[in-house]
């Protein structure tokens, strides 16, 4: 076996270990075995979810200005934000921000666990009904949408706190 194969093997083993860890955490939080397994598999597409969230953030970037107005941010800061919001500079900044978010997995996993737990408390009431109407794929799709939505909100918060040094809300 060559070095590349060896690296691939330990990366896969490490990822499976992380997945089992997430499954264990969900079980500790009294989430059913099947749903814990489903959420733990989202780990593999977490970078994609984060990228989707940042694309979503970029699409709804004008809401950022409205929010900052409500936050009573300095007029000069607000004006500079309005100036760059439709420029290439903002695109590059958003891209770098997304890359930074993807390569810091610890915060993302903590958030992922928190979101999945909150989402599951809503889902557990109507699981049987959803199974009948949408099937397992429907539940997976709904969970995925919820994750992207919450990660988008998180990206907004991250942007606001890093750019204007305001308190995390």
């Amino acid at each position: 076996m060559n070095m590349v194969g060896f690296i691939a093997i330990i990366i896969i083993a490490g990822l499976i270990g992380v997945q089992f860890g997430i499954y264990y955490v969900f079980r500790q939080k009294d989430i059913s075995g099947l749903r814990s397994l489903m959420y733990s598999f989202f780990l593999y597409i977490l970078p994609v979810i984060i990228l989707l969230a940042h694309i979503e953030m970029y699409k709804s970037r004008h809401e950022l200005v409205d929010y900052c107005k409500k936050q009573k941010i300095n007029k000069s800061d607000l004006m500079s934000l309005e100036k760059i919001i439709n420029t290439k500079r903002f695109v590059i900044f958003s891209f770098l921000f997304a890359v930074k978010d993807v390569i810091t997995p610890k915060d993302n996993i903590l958030l992922f666990i928190e979101i999945a737990k909150t989402h599951d408390s809503k889902l557990s009431f109507k699981t049987k009904q959803l199974f009948r109407t949408r099937g397992i794929l429907g539940i997976v799709w709904q969970s995925l949408k919820a994750l992207v939505e919450k990660f988008t909100n998180y990206a907004f918060d991250q942007y606001r706190t890093s750019r204007f040094k305001i308190k995390h809300v």
């Binding site: 330990i10 990366i11 083993a13 490490g14 270990g17 089992f20 955490v25 500790q28």
Partner: protein
């Protein structure tokens, strides 16, 4: 950081073992590595700690015994048709009996270590919201 250190150590062991085919290299490196890993387990994981420590202690014990056997010439690494095997040494008067392929032995340990490291990393992670790790079961109504 711990995961990176784990992998970096594994690469070094792999390289030195394959380059020299020297058992003391493999065994001493593994012993040092396990001792290092044993000492650097996650401080926050309270529920997992006893079980985790027991597993690591057992592994250190087994690797230590193999290391000792290599040191007193009971075991050696032998090359057969380009493959390296951990085998009984000629001084044991049982012939050159191959026990396990070095690559397989090493890969099994590497897989297990990476798995444990990944699992322990998540479970020992501190939940920001409640300020504790995930290995403590939440009490209902608390």
């Amino acid at each position: 950081m711990k995961l990176l250190l784990t992998w970096a150590s594994l690469f070094i062991i792999w390289k030195s073992t394959m380059d020299t085919a020297d058992p003391t290299n493999l065994f001493s490196n593994l012993a040092v590595f396990y001792a290092m890993y044993w000492l650097s387990y996650h401080e926050n994981s309270s529920g997992l700690k006893p079980a985790f420590l027991k597993v690591i202690q057992t592994i250190v014990g087994i690797v230590g015994l193999i290391c000792l056997a290599g040191w007193i010439n009971m075991l050696t690494i032998r090359e057969v048709e380009g493959q390296f095997f951990i085998s009984l040494s000629a001084s044991m008067r049982m012939g050159n009996y191959d026990i396990i392929n070095v690559n397989i032995f090493f890969i099994v340990i590497a897989i297990k270590l990476a798995f444990i490291a990944g699992f322990e990393w998540i479970v020992g992670m501190k939940d920001k919201r409640v300020g504790k790790t995930y290995d403590v079961k939440e009490k209902k109504g608390a």
